[in-house]
Each structure stands twice: as C-alpha cells, then as structure tokens.
C-alpha cells in the first residue's frame, strides 16, 4: 500500500507537487496519469525517499520507506529508464543491489529470466536498447520480491510484445495481492491495465476514480440524430435542461436526453430518423478534457510572443 498524504514539493519558486493525496491499494493496479511535467516522477521519487517532500508525508506499507528493515522487499521501483552504470553487465548491476539485502544469486538469475534478458545478462548495459534497459529496470524492481511494485512509464520504448508482457506481468502481480502502481501519460494504454486511476496536472490531484467511473462520468456526450425534418424535431425536443444544436443540414445534436427518449418523441410524431447515436466521449478525450487546463507544455501560439 502506498499512502501519499497532503504532499507538497517545491523547487525554489516552482511547485512541482501541490498538496497531493491518494492511496494505492493492494490487489489492484493503480494508474498514475498526467501530462508531462504534472509531477508524476517527482511524486514517485518522494515515495521511495529520493526526494524529500517540502511538506506532507508518504508511507509505504504503513511506514516511511527508509524505516523498513528490507526496503527492496517492501517496494520495487523502476524510475528513469536507465538508473544504471553503463559499464556494468546486467548481472553485476542486479547483484550489486541484491547483495545489500542478502538476496541470493539465484534470485538475480530468476528475475533476469523473468525479464527475458537471459541472452544479454553478461553484456554491458551501455549497449542496451531502450527496451532492454526498461526490462532490466523492471527486473531490478522485482528483485526483492516486493509487496509493492511501482513503475514510472514502464512501457516506454518497449515493442508491442514487451508492452503485452508488462501488462500481463502487472496484472499477475496485482492478482497475487500486491500493490501495483504505474505512471503514464497515455490514457488508452493505462485503461487496459489499471482499474484505479489517479489523474494529476500541474502537481494537483484532478481525479481519483476508476476506469468505470471515468467512463460513466464522460458518457453524457449527447445524442446524434439525423432526420428529414430537423426543424420540427428540434421544436419538439426543446425544453428545460435540453439543448439542441444543428450540426449539419439534416443533423442535430441533443444534450440532456437519452437516445431512447429522442427516439420515442420522433416515433410519437411520425418523424423519420436515419440515424440515432449516443455519442460517447472516448477515455482519451475525457482525459484530455480533464487535464486541458493543466498541460504544462502545450503547443500554443506563445512563439509569436517570443519572437517579438
């Protein structure tokens, strides 16, 4: 279990994380989402004690990380793609970490096989591709057989097979009762694996929800109707709490009514409909909507100002 409690992190003037609170629970996959620069990595660094919160506290399995007798057994973490000395081999990198905790060599070989690095175990990490580096990072995260697994952008640089591997691996870890948390800036990818979603933007919590909850919340996308008598239908549908807009010559968009209600009204007045669709916002759109105001590095016409 990871508990982030009212955490703020300031770097000089800049507030990277702003009174953020959330809990990642055992047995489920928590997706930690936000645009670039939202404070995801900073938060993860604070969880494992690399950065100290300016205020607030972070608990891993009920305690500050550094107070555990065997930290690697509490939480395994993948931070940046390569937190590795390029001059070491994959095996010696893992062995150097394993020995701090008295983790046997056997376990090192196990995680190397698990990560599919058997063929390059004795090769120096400097020559690894991004994907191999990610696999090594994930192997390191699993080294201590940890109760919590936390991965920062784990699918970055992985090929489709690798992505599938990570997805199955994390689902399996959660099914074993472990706490799994992964960060991403891609909603579509995260929705495939996470049930719990924590969405941040500019260091603030934007939503603490579930994938199902987010879908329900975003379903009110209106109803798309095509008819030969748009004017008449429009008059019939209008009422309090209902807005009808014309989107094309024979098309209407209705907000505030379900497709069933629109269909019933049309049938009651003998108006033929050619199309009746409940317009659903995709998860990706919902995410963009949620984070629109919090995007740190958006493509805006700021350039003009800069040129002046």
């Amino acid at each position: 279990m990871i508990e982030v409690l009212e955490v703020t992190k300031r770097y000089g003037e800049k507030v990277a994380v702003d009174r953020l609170s959330f809990v990642a629970r055992p047995g489920q996959v928590t997706g930690f989402l936000g645009p670039n620069g939202a404070g995801k990595s900073t938060t993860m660094r604070m969880i494992v004690g690399l950065d100290r919160p300016t205020s607030g506290s972070v608990l891993v399995n009920g305690r500050p990380y550094a107070e555990h007798a065997a930290p690697l057994q509490e939480i395994g973490v993948l931070l940046e793609a390569k937190a590795v000395h390029p001059g070491r081999t994959a095996v010696s990198h893992l062995l150097g970490l394993a020995r701090t905790h008295g983790i046997p060599r056997r376990r090192v070989d196990e995680v190397i096989d698990l990560a599919g690095l058997g063929a390059v175990a004795g090769k120096r990490v400097g020559g690894f591709s991004l994907g191999m580096g990610q696999r090594l990072g994930i192997a390191a995260a699993l080294l201590g057989d940890p109760a919590v697994v936390m991965l920062d952008e784990p699918v970055n640089g992985l090929d489709p097979e690798g992505v599938l591997w990570v997805r199955n691996l994390l689902a399996g870890l959660a099914a074993e009762g472990r706490t799994v948390m992964l960060s991403s800036h891609l909603m579509s990818e995260t929705a495939l694996i996470a049930e719990h979603l924590v969405v941040v933007g500019r260091g603030r919590l934007l939503a603490d929800t579930t994938v199902a909850g987010l879908i329900a919340q975003t379903a009110g996308g209106g109803v798309q109707v095509a008819t030969s008598q748009p004017g008449l239908l429009r008059d019939l549908l209008s009422g309090p709490g209902v807005t009808v807009t014309s989107t094309a010559s024979e098309q209407l968009r209705v907000d505030g009514l379900t497709s069933r209600e629109v269909g019933a009204v049309a049938a009651g007045h003998g108006i033929p409909l050619y199309e009746l669709v409940e317009h659903r916002v995709s998860l990706e759109e919902a995410f963009m909507d949620l984070t629109r105001d919090a995007v740190e590095y958006a493509a805006t016409p700021v350039l003009q100002e800069a040129i002046r």
Binding site: S92, T100, R178
Partner: protein, 270 residues
Amino acid sequence: MTTTSVRPVYRLTARGVLAGEWTKFWSLRSSGITLAVSVVLLVLVGMIASASYDPSGGGGGPGGPGGGASDAVGLVLSGSTFASLAVGVLGVLLAAGEYSTGMIRSTLSAVPTRLPVLWSKALIAGGLAAVTMTVGAVVSFLIGSPLLPDAVSGLGLGDDGVLRSLLGAGLYLGLVAVLGVALGALVRSSAGGIAILAGGLLIVPGLISLLPASWSDTISPYLPSNAGGAIMSVQTADGSLAPWAGLAVFAAYVAVVLAAAAWRLTKTDA
C-alpha cells in the same frame, strides 16, 4: 501482502551494503585499471628516479612529497605524487560516477538510509588503495634501492623509519582515495571532484610557495599533501611536520570533507 506463500526474509544490513559496493567496485573495468595504474606509477617513477639519481647534482626525481629527497626511501617513493592522483581519481569516480550515470537512484532506492553507501565506498577505496600502495611502496624500495648509487643506498627494510615510511605511504595514499570518495560525493561531478583533488594536492602547495617566505613557511607544512607526505620521509625535514602528526593533520582534512559529503548525502535530494 495477502498471500500466505512463504516469502524469503531479506534484510538490509551494513555488511550487505559493503558486499554490494564491493561487487559494484569490481564489476567496473575502470576500478581495476585505475588501481593497477596507481601501482605501476608508484613503482615505475620510483625506479626511474632511483636509477637516474645523481648525488652531486642535487634533487633527482619529480617534485612533490619525497621529491628532492636525498635518502633512499624518499627517492624510491618519488612516484607517490602520481600515485596519489590516480587513487584520488579512483575515489572520485567511485562516488561521482553514481551521479553522472543515474545509478545513484538505484543505489539509494535499495539503501534509503544512504550513509552506509558512503562509508562502504570510503572503506573499499581507502582499504584497497592502502593495501596495494603499501605493497607498491615495499616493491619500489626493493627494486629501487639497488639501483641507487652507493652514496645514498645502504638503507635496508630493517633500518629505523624505513618500514614506517613505506607503510606510511600506503596509509597516506589510502586516505587520498577516501578523500576522493568524499569529494566525489560532495560535488557529485567527476570533473569537479578531480579538479578540486588535483588543485588541493598539487597546485595549492605551489601557489603558497609564491607567498612571502615567512607566510609560506608557516602555512606550508599544514597543507594537505605536505602534511600527509611527512610520513614518507625517514628523517623529518626542516619545515615539515613530524611523520604521525602530519598524517593526523591530513586525516583531519579527509574527515572534514567526508563529514561534509555525509551531510550533503543525507540532507539533499538525490
């Protein structure tokens, strides 16, 4: 964890951190190479200085501690200046390399208490440097002193102060390696650490000698490399600290930098 399957019990221990750092040290090619280069420099420069020494022409060998010495031990240890740079660089790389590669994040995630990492690195760099440099100093003496002209040879391992000087060279160079680790951890940059190390050990003594004689004579014995180098002379030269007093002064410098490194390691974000 809700599973009831038996999980192995691991423990983070100081001994484990030392073992981990030991593995990390030897798994980098540069470690062994730098250590070997230090020994070779110490022995080779000592041999050259001994073989080319001309008693009538004044000081042989390059400058630095032992340079200009006219006793056998001082001459065979002429390489100690170069060796001190090499072992110092070894220490700096051991600590600062963690930051330049990002490895520090892996290291401190595994050891969130942090300080054991610094102590282990200092112990490994210092211990290995001390042992190899002591061996190197003795080898230098055994190879170098027969090459000396008769006028200065004649000292044996059993003579007063000889063994102390050779052992002292090992201790001094071991402390230089610890200083390197401390500097690397303090400035978190290989280039910066090496610059400060070389500046402090080699350049500052030269600069101080430019001061008026009354000043430089007072300050000079207390400069890091001069104080530490005192242990390598059989006979205490004029304007030099006594051997063990000098080494103690140097150890104090190292302790201060190490304390500063420890402070930075625990107090600031990795």
